[in-house]
């Protein structure tokens, strides 16, 4: 479940801008969704292989070029579906939690 939420968060971060892996990590760390950076890389590979993400190489001011990830069209559709599912899930869980 945690992995699913992480994947959703990654898509949500990338829906705003194309990002370098460390930018995504920083945002996820700030939201306390992940603690260690290593978690991100296998997820990015998996999402890329699923056609949800693509990347381009961009020159870096320090060191070698960096991979900048962005959502594909499929990724955007998938994200909209996830948004809907998430809202329904939150509502359902809240109903159960709030029932006394």
């Amino acid at each position: 479940m945690r992995k699913g939420i992480l994947e959703y968060c990654i898509l949500a971060v990338l829906s705003r801008n194309s990002c370098y892996a460390v930018d995504i990590i920083n945002e996820l760390k700030k939201a306390r969704v992940i603690v260690v950076e290593g978690t991100l890389y296998p997820l990015l590979t998996r999402q890329k292989n699923a056609g949800l993400l693509s990347y381009r190489w961009q020159e870096s001011p320090q060191g070698p070029p960096r991979k900048y990830y962005e959502l594909t069209e499929l990724g955007q559709i998938y994200l909209r579906e996830l948004d809907k599912v998430w809202d329904e899930l939150v509502e359902s869980v809240n109903q159960i939690r709030d029932r006394k």
Binding site: A21, V35, T39, G63
Partner: protein, 423 residues
């Protein structure tokens, strides 16, 4: 002494302490094993390697030295593979992924290389220090010497009329302020001097500052100050150009008026005597440029200048004396008027030519190229004798030997016949 290994992570070279290498190798084996069975494992591992290289601060020359603490810190950031997420495959790690360098730190060539590298690094640092000290000493010496010369120059050029300097120095030394007061409007002199100082001293100060920055490795950049000083310099240059153009425009047109007396027959000996004498001239400021001497009577605002005498042979048996008064101005008419206003007297009486030792400009007039030229042409064999009381020098008559009083026209030129000549 710790052993080090050179390793390649994500295409970047790192030097790793042996104990750090043990930890790093263990971690990378573990990561490699964790993703081995997953699709796209190579790409994931490459991304993780790239991030590890970035955390280690890769891409530097010489390569970053990775310590055990740095590896531990990296693992804290990246996390242990089992912490990545909880439903990944659990596979035992088994294979080293990183590419190990073939470099053997214990080989003879490696040890020799390190020794030579250490020696030349130390030698380079020593030479650099020596050269820097040498540059500082030389720079300080030339700066002090330059400033000394500069101030001496300023004192000589601008202030040699001061009582102290006047008492110890040659009075004929040119004083720029005095000269400018002869040529330019008095009110324009100090602005011109100040603007000229700004135009010349600002670039000089900039060069000195650049040298100090280079020697002492000062990296601060005073951009606003630089821009302000550049604007001041440009404005000074423009203002100086405008003022000088206005002041010097009086030299644009040159005209002359001449009075000529034919000597027919020419005397066998032409005696030269003077009437108004420089020695009796009342003046309170004196300046000279090459042969010309200027005498300024500031109380009456009158300027006097020495004439110039030239003597040559004539083409026939007769001769002549031509006195030409020349002056400049904005227009031809004004230049002629200025030339006619130059006061200069001369006369011929018997075989003696009487000349004034100076010409006089009208009160209040500045020197505008005003010159009196005395041109004497005499037949071959004619003698020219200055009376004993008159030195040819006061009339700017300069022919070698300088101090002779008697001359004779030979082959079209005056030749000395003075017994006093000490040739």
């Amino acid at each position: 002494m710790k052993k080090t290994l050179d390793i390649n992570i994500a295409g970047q070279l790192f030097r790793v302490d042996e104990d750090a290498w043990e930890v790093l190798k263990h971690y990378l084996d573990h990561v490699s094993a964790r993703f081995k069975s997953e699709q796209g494992a190579d790409e994931t591992l490459a991304d993780i390697e790239a991030r590890i290289a970035e955390i280690f601060g890769g891409g530097k020359e010489p390569p970053t030295l990775v310590s055990k603490e740095m590896v531990t810190n990296m693992i804290n950031i990246m996390g242990a593979p089992e912490d990545y997420y909880d439903d990944g495959p659990a596979v035992k790690y088994k294979k080293l992924y990183v590419r190990k360098s073939m470099y053997d730190p214990n080989s003879f060539s490696a040890r020799l290389g390190r020794t030579l590298s250490g020696f030349f690094t130390a030698f380079g640092k020593l030479m650099s220090a020596i050269m820097r000290v040498f540059a500082i000493i030389l720079g300080a010496f030339f700066t002090l010497f330059g400033f000394l010369l500069f101030f001496t120059f300023v004192i000589l050029i601008f202030f040699n009329n001061a009582p102290f300097f006047a008492s110890v120095m040659e009075p004929q030394i040119t004083n720029v302020h005095g000269l400018l007061s002869i040529v330019l409007n008095t009110n324009a002199i100090w602005p011109i001097l100040i603007l000229a100082a700004l135009v010349t001293l600002l670039p000089l100060a900039a060069v000195i500052w650049l040298g100090i920055k280079l020697i002492f490795r000062i990296r601060e950049s005073f951009r606003v100050l630089n821009i302000v000083l550049f604007l001041v310099w440009t404005a000074s240059l423009c203002a100086l150009a405008v003022i000088l153009s206005l002041q010097l425009s009086v030299y644009s047109n040159r005209e002359s008026v001449e009075k000529r007396l034919t000597l027919d027959p020419a005397p066998k000996t032409l005696w030269i005597n003077t009437m108004k004498k420089q020695a009796n001239l009342s003046h309170d400021r004196y300046a000279s440029v090459e042969d010309f001497r200027f005498f300024v009577d500031r109380s009456n605002d009158i300027l006097h200048a020495s004439p110039e005498l030239r003597i040559r042979g004539s083409d026939n048996g007769t001769g002549y004396i031509a006195v030409q008064r020349r002056a400049n101005s904005n227009s031809d008419t004004e230049a002629v008027r200025n030339a006619r206003q130059i006061e200069y007297d001369w006369k011929m009486s018997g075989d003696t030519l009487y000349l004034d030792e100076y010409c006089t400009l009208p009160p209040g007039a500045k020197w505008n190229g005003s010159i009196v030229d005395i041109d004497i042409r005499l037949p071959e064999g004619t003698e020219i004798r200055f009376v004993p009381e008159v030195s040819p020098d006061v009339l700017n008559f300069h022919l070698f030997p300088w101090k002779d009083q008697a001359w004779k026209i030979v082959d079209g030129w005056p030749r000395s016949i003075d017994d006093r000549t000490d040739q």
